[in-house]
Symmetry: C5
């Protein structure tokens, strides 16, 4: 099933407006009806399942949504991953099989959620945003809504995009002696979340790169679109903050939760993610201050340039305007102008011209204009 | 009954001052006397009632306020909607029939309330603001105060304007298999509030449109009233924030309320609205930052233009002022000016003129002014 | 008794410094000694008393402070109002009669209090600020400290100024069927506070008026003292905020109080005032943002004007400086200047002048400077 | 014992760096060793003691630290005041006599404490800052660290400077009928703190004075160092805030304390100081906003002046440059220039000059530049 | 074992990006695997141990990690200090010997932690940042991550760098009568933390120095890179704040902790550190305001300079342009120009020139331009 669906997260993107429009259109539908609202990428939904315990691990790929019924297994941990949300039947089926609240299903399909955690009696629902640099434009970020359902023996993840953010988790699962194989579904959920948050550091690295180039451009006076770059980053930081900062609250809620889904020892690990998120948001905050400081530098550089232009004008005008006046005086046609008759009038005048010029130059030198 | 009543919510609107004046006038009246204080729109009050349960649905339109007594029915849910507040007898009658506190009645009629929730023993009183784009001016927003009374078997809504924001709810009610028909009055209240909040997304879409045009204008250097548009939007955002942000607190209060009016399962849905409101306010917050960034771009564009003007002046003046001086020198009437007699004096001077001119042009080229 | 006493609330008012000085002088006195510290208005203290219950109402005017002992009556509500604080004997006597804490008496007489509420065992002490436009200067506000003592059967009010803010309450009291006559002293206190808060809306209306004129002035480019007006309003808003915002906290304290002085049903009414105060402070907050936005408009208007000045200069200079140079060239006195001899030299040069002029004009037109 | 010790509180003061250096030096010493770290004033320590009860009062001056042991008297209140901290033996001895924690003794001697309150089992330790105008420079403030130890029957105060801030308390103590003589040590502590806080109002009065002069300077365009004054005050406000605002928290802690050192009735008085501190900090906050607004006025005044300069230049240049061109034209030496031969050429040209000049003047008049 | 590892804390440092990259690389590794992530300094890890009680003190230096097993001694306090983190086997071994959580070991090795405190059943884990001036560049700060493990009888510290910040603690330990020798491991931890925090004051002293030089540069108009210095300090302050402010929270947590690791009396001392940290952060906050104020001064100084340039230009142009025009007039070649024939025409014209010049100079004097 192909489906054209608009993107939400990039501000000022043409598609966003479609998303908004659609959100508005949907306001007529009953809440709880399953419609996919999200970014445009024509991606077929793909289901893959990994079932593992300490002894063995089985992988299933390219499953059909009708096969989802056969993974109710309690002796092993089952991780169901869905890439692409266009096929709403998958979400519907999972909802039926695992008895998920209709509002959760609806939220999985709407890819403009704030990161949040919802606790239900026998499962947790987590939405977070994967962030990556845009492949072709290093000033743009790409957002990927990732929903995680944590059940007693299952973890079900939904990813808007087909990227390979979870690739490393697959690798680690294959190591039979890893802690991951010995732990429950809560530890898998932790590893997934940890992987997503670690991506944020990579993105911040990319921004750091951009800052450095910006600074060089500012120092060299090159880069005619410095201001636009600054504004672009300012906005990316605004969007990034909006998509990351709710995570702090989310992780505090996890810490305080008295659920049986999370073991005491896994909670320690979630606290570790909390620390990472605090570090990411601290860095974001300082990036905002740095970008403000770069903008200040840019604005003063404009003022400084104007000042320099003014000085050039002033030096030229102030030197030659008086000289022109004097030349004008001796161009007058009065009958009685004794100087005109003097033998050394003309050379003397040149001497006057030159001394006035040098005098003014000395003055400007003293004013530090030269 | 026709009535001229002033508008409150648009800042700097002439009518607002009348509203303020009236509020002041009213300060002499005993608190609790029913007077309509609000925006000017000559709208006759219209009452419509929908009575429904799982089996059947009956609609009544254009009722008189005297007929309001006959809807005390406990087997079905009754939704009374009042469009237009000019006829205070309706509010008075409803107050008497359903035993509503006089302060609530007064608040329903004053259309300059902050969004709020008041819990009474056997009903809830909610005030929220419907927001829509002004039909003729896409930089102006229109506010519509909507009061919702939630009783055990009744929902009573009062709308300042006669718009059709609840149209979609009517349609959904008519679907006999919808969840709405199977649920209580609390679910109806949820659907109404959800509909109002969904409108906010449409408004934000409109603002996004305006941002895009603003950016284009800024880039092209066109749009002489860019600054005024920016200021206008800044103010709309201020007003919008004032009318939306109290909703967060309101929905938190609902969540924490230990009332019997709301069933456990409906509370989940209200939490969903809470999420939506958080998303709306997050977006508003980033819009405020974006508009600030646009203003910064505008201000630097002025500085840049001034700089460019200065450069043109400096180039012209710096090239021609020295040349004019030299021409002035050879326009002097000294008797002994040997150059004047030279055969090639004039052509040589032209060569000097041209080399000075080209030299200065090269200098300005080096300074990146050309 | 006449008394010269300095004003506190107007920043940068000469008298304020006297107030500060006096506060400093008082630092030598024992805390608790009754001295009037406040604004300069030579007002004799005036006592008036209204005693009422559901059946009857008796008014006493121009009483002497010695007569205050005879109003200990439990069958009716007694409202004692004191206008003007110059006669400290009144406050002293009331303190003795009703057993009021010396610090409260001292606070009543110092008219530079922050709005606050103090709960004592058998009475409440409230200080709030009445605000009104200055009669002669619509950019200045006037503050009036109003102290309210709420006892079981008495309400005692002290007003710094002799204005008629409570006039409407008198009128309402005279209506024998009003709710006021049937309720206790707590309801009277509510009505008084409500009256004071309603005045704030009138003041905000006045500011709104000023905003509108400011905006017109900014658009028209008239109004040489726009900046001063903006700064003046900025400060008035600072002062207003300082005098109003503590009310929020004050009313929250009332709500949470477990006193017997306030009945359950009156508390509802105080909550209503809380809503009003929130509205007032929200509006104040947006006024602050609006004034900041007006200032931004003002500053860019200066930049724009400078830009325009620059353009005029650049156009004139850039057109005529090259022409003057050419004219200067043909004013030179070289013997061999063949052009000077040409028959059409002069007209041809005029053609050159005109084409250069028109060319440059076209250039500036293209740059959108004309 | 003479001792050179550096000052802490004045930012950018040479001595401060010494203080910092010393603090760094001290980092090698064990915490708890008694060394005086503070501002440079060569002041001998002076001890004075007042012992009083309702019946009698005895004063001791210029005591030696060895005599401190004889004031353990329970029938009267003993106030020990130490002016100047250079003699660390006094602090040591008091610590031993009254069993004070070593960290408290250390804090008494380091005069760069934040205002704070520490509760110990049988005493309270309070540090606050006395503030006064610098005697010779009305833009500088002077800080005086005052430590107050409140015991059951003793109050011990340590003052960094030898000023007479407590003079008025001495006077009041001498009044045998004053409340002070009838109350316990807690009331004395209150009176001392009240006296210190009252000084803040005097300082704010002084700042108000400076504001007024600044405003006049700004309006008159005089005062070349307006910006420096503004920056100086900005910093003084920063320092003042840092030294006053912790008092709010301190007084809240006192209110909530369940100590037996403070009687219920004295707590009321401390609440009164809390109000004063809130007023002081509110005023400080508005001073910060006022200073920001003054800076805005200053910056726009620069822009305005530049604009005016530009206008003068533009008017002169725009009028005379075209005229000069025309004069230049008729200074050309073409053989065939018929106008030169006309009888009325010269007067007509003057008419042209004058009309062009007047025309341009009219234009600038219309632009409101004149 | 040599190891190249990138630095984290200095923004815009090339190595930081490597750190980020490595953090990203590590996202593929299982959480809990011990890899050193940190700044580049090729430092061999060095272990030193001090074992002491009231009677004796033994020191061990240059230990191998294999010898760490023999310090499980309960009669004395053991302080193990590790300088340099390149040898991960040390951390691993300590983890095994003292039963430390793997996440803690991981955090010790990643030197880009936020300061934090983690409470475990039988130990505390503290991370703080040591800060020092860069030895060669007084505008740059150096960060040193210091991990402190507090056990019942052991304190284990890990330092990223090999500096001598703990030197003074060694000295104090050697004093057999010091409080340190008589107290438990908690007091040692306090002394170590106190030493680190005291270093912050030294750093602030250095910044103060820089401020002073900046101010001088601003006043003298020298210092072409003032803006860059300001921006550099702004960023250092941002980073510093990020590394210090979490300490406040950390120390509050310690205070509230109900652990048996800290004795009541040592808690008092930790409160003292809390005060110091508050003072440091208060100072940082005012430094941020001071740097903002310096930037304002810098920006106005640019505007002022431009204004001055404009004035020079205007004065020259306004005086000589009219004079040049007049000279141009009498350079015209009209046949009938009577003035040219006048005997005193030329001297009179000079008089006119001089009076116009002086008149304009007087005008500019009046405008305060000279």
């Amino acid at each position: 099933m192909k489906f054209i669906y608009p993107e939400w997260h990039r501000l000022h993107h043409q598609d966003q407006q479609k998303a908004l429009k659609r959100a508005a259109d949907k306001s007529g539908l009953p809440p709880g009806s399953l419609v996919h609202i999200g970014a445009v990428h024509e991606l077929d939904s793909r289901i893959s399942v990994v079932q593992y315990n300490e002894e063995k691990l089985v992988e299933y790929n390219e499953l059909s949504y009708t096969e989802l019924g056969r993974f109710h297994h309690k002796e092993s941990i089952t991780w169901i991953n869905v890439d692409g949300l266009s096929d709403t039947r998958i979400v519907e089926r999972i909802g039926r099989e695992f008895n998920i609240h209709p509002l959760v299903l609806e939220d999985i399909l709407s890819t403009h959620q704030r990161p949040k955690l919802e606790e239900y009696d026998d499962y947790f629902y987590l939405v977070v945003k994967g962030i990556s640099m845009h492949p072709s434009d290093n000033l743009r970020l790409q957002y990927d809504q990732i929903s995680i359902l944590l059940l007693a023996n299952h973890v079900i993840t939904f990813k808007e995009r087909g990227d390979d953010v979870f690739q490393s988790v697959y690798h680690r699962l294959k190591n039979p002696r890893g802690r991951l194989r010995k732990s429950g579904s809560d530890y898998l959920a932790y590893v997934l979340l940890d992987t997503i948050v670690d991506e944020y550091f990579v993105v911040e690295e990319g921004l750091d790169d951009v800052f450095e180039r910006l600074e060089d451009d500012l120092l060299m006076g090159t880069g005619s679109n410095v201001l636009q770059t600054i504004q672009q980053i300012r906005r990316e930081l605004i969007t990034m903050k909006r998509n990351i900062s709710p995570l702090r609250e989310l992780l505090t809620t996890i810490k305080r939760s008295d659920t049986t889904l999370l073991t005491e020892s896994t909670l320690r690990y979630f606290e570790d993610i909390h620390d990472h998120v605090l570090r990411v948001t601290d860095t974001l905050e300082s990036y905002r201050e740095i970008i403000a400081s770069l903008q200040d530098v840019y604005l003063s550089s404009i003022s400084n340039k104007m000042n320099e232009t003014m000085k050039v004008l002033t030096i030229f005008a102030s030197i030659f305007i008086p000289l022109t006046f004097i030349a004008g005086v001796y161009g007058m046609n009065f009958e009685y102008m004794p100087e005109l008759k003097w033998r050394w009038g003309y050379p003397v005048l040149w001497a006057v011209f030159i001394s006035i010029g040098l005098g003014l130059l000395a003055l400007f030198k003293k004013k530090k204009w030269l």
